[in-house]
Amino acid sequence: MPGSRPKTIMLSAAGVALALTLAACGSSSSGGNPSVQTTNTSNSSLPALCGGQHGSGKVVVAAAAFSENETLAQIYALALKACGYNASTKNFASREVYYPLVKKGTIKVVPEYAATLTDYINTLANGANAPSKASGDINTTITALKAELPSSLAVLNAAAGTDKNAFAVKKSFATANHIQTLSQLATYSKSHPLTLAGPPECPSRPFCEPGLKNTYGMKIKGFKQTDPGGPLTEKALTSGKADVGLVFTSDPTVVQKGLVVLTDDKNLQASDNIVPLVASSLATGAAANALNAVDSKLDQTTLIDLNKAVQIDHGTPQQVAQQFLKDENLT
């Protein structure tokens, strides 16, 4: 599924470079050791997010090697710790590496992306060319995902925040022409055909140029080949060489560069909302309560802020996770 590939590329481009810098300099400040949280686990003073239930036992939370996922894994682990679990995080290169361990039960929690996970499990079961079961609508996607999950696994509530393909324009352009959605941009393009910036695969991928043309009826007069939601795309937009470009919904640099993401009002993009993939034993009780409470706070703005705190302001995922739980009154 194309949806998963650009994400990895984008986050490695935008995030990994920063993450590497962090590895070198991040530990200087307050330490960010999660052991502070364990003081809360003395049974009487459980925080509200546990829903009055007490958890116990070892829980390994997996993170894929890009900063957003690492931060989310830290948040999940800290929330679980607060409810009494002996939670820790472990980083993996990719889903291909950690998913077998999740199935085996070695890993009990992963911050996942609904549509990409749905397609991943689907292709594992039905082959690489199996038609996608993910949808632009998150509820449809979750239903499909639940249907194909093995009984040993479950997913909890999906967050509102997504990390998926999106299209951005200059903020000044959007304001001047009253454009907030892709449909409005398509209407505008009828009289002013647009130049699109995107990765090399964009002209041939349904979620990109063909999708804009067929789903939205957008008039595109030219394609400027750049990168998947990276600095070249942002530069092409800010310098006016392109009018609309492919970005990612949770990328904090988009806003920073004076760009604005347009609403995908016809659900062209598959619904890659954040969703916790857990072992069935954690699908009820304190763990489920805690992770659902966390997810209810993870809207789009919050997710972007979390990424900004790590990728731009150079916090460690651990520090940022602790701050988030404190700010949201979760612990």
Binding site: A197, P200, K224, Q225, P231, E234, K235, A236
Partner: protein, 249 residues
């Protein structure tokens, strides 16, 4: 036959198996591959070839316009040799991909200019070193005689030194041209088109036939360019005589 070409480009980690071989032959035998536009309006080899000619040609032209006068100026200076070596080594050691990407996201912007600037820098060393050596190696008796005949400094340069240095200058131009042609492939990374587009788009869409096709087209055209410039160079040498072996660098 294609496998020995592969190490030339590091992007392909896949072994040539039967299905890849099929993709390659399909790519080569599809008519729209070679057209100006492909079936879905994407750029075909004909268009990419012209973009490649444009990017490399302009880079070579600018590099020549800088390199040759610089070489002439430096032969007038006692420490010129040191400068030539330093400039050439510095220019050769700059990682072009990095410069290209930084220019594209920075001051120059996404477009052909960001590709041409580093290519010019890259083309200068062979032009500069060959022109410098060619002029400096002109027999002093020739320039003395010309001066004795009443030629000005500029006339000596134009009518004696440069013509005598032409065989070596031609060598520099050939080497620079082939280098630029092969290196202009990376311009596609920043969306400047050219034959590298086949490799970049093929890789992004997992159309490995197109990737191999792009590699082969670039390699074959580079060899063809080298051979035709070598012929032209022999013609030049017949006309202007030779001071140096034709393979000099």
């Amino acid at each position: 036959m294609s496998s020995y070409l592969l190490p030339a480009v590091g992007v392909v980690s896949q072994r040539v198996n039967n299905s890849t071989w099929h993709q390659i032959t399909t790519w080569f035998t599809t008519a729209s591959t070679w057209a100006w536009h492909g079936e879905n309006g994407e750029a075909g080899v004909a268009q990419l070839f012209w973009e490649h000619v444009w990017i490399s040609g302009l880079s070579l032209l600018i590099a020549t316009a800088i390199g040759i006068p610089l070489a002439v100026a430096l032969t007038r200076w006692r420490r010129g040799g040191l400068v030539v070596t330093s400039v050439a080594n510095a220019a050769r050691s700059i990682p072009i991909v990095g410069v290209m990407l930084l220019l594209a996201v920075g001051p120059v912007g996404v477009g052909t200019e960001s590709a041409i600037i580093p290519l010019v820098v890259f083309a200068i060393p062979p032009l500069l070193t060959n022109a410098y050596t060619g002029i400096r190696d002109v027999d002093p008796e020739m320039t003395d005689a010309a001066t004795g005949m009443g030629m000005s400094r500029l006339q000596v340069t134009r009518r004696v030194e440069l013509p005598l240095a032409i065989p070596l200058i031609a060598t520099g131009v050939r080497l620079a041209a082939v280098q630029v042609w092969a290196t202009a492939t990376i311009a596609a990374i920043i969306g400047s088109g050219g034959l590298g587009q086949l490799i970049v788009v093929g890789y992004a869409t997992q159309a490995y036939g197109e990737v191999y096709g792009g590699i082969i087209v670039v390699a074959v055209t580079a060899v063809a360019l080298d051979m035709s410039l070598l012929r032209a160079q022999r013609g030049v040498r017949r006309r202007y005589g030779s001071l140096a072996p034709i393979e000099g660098s």
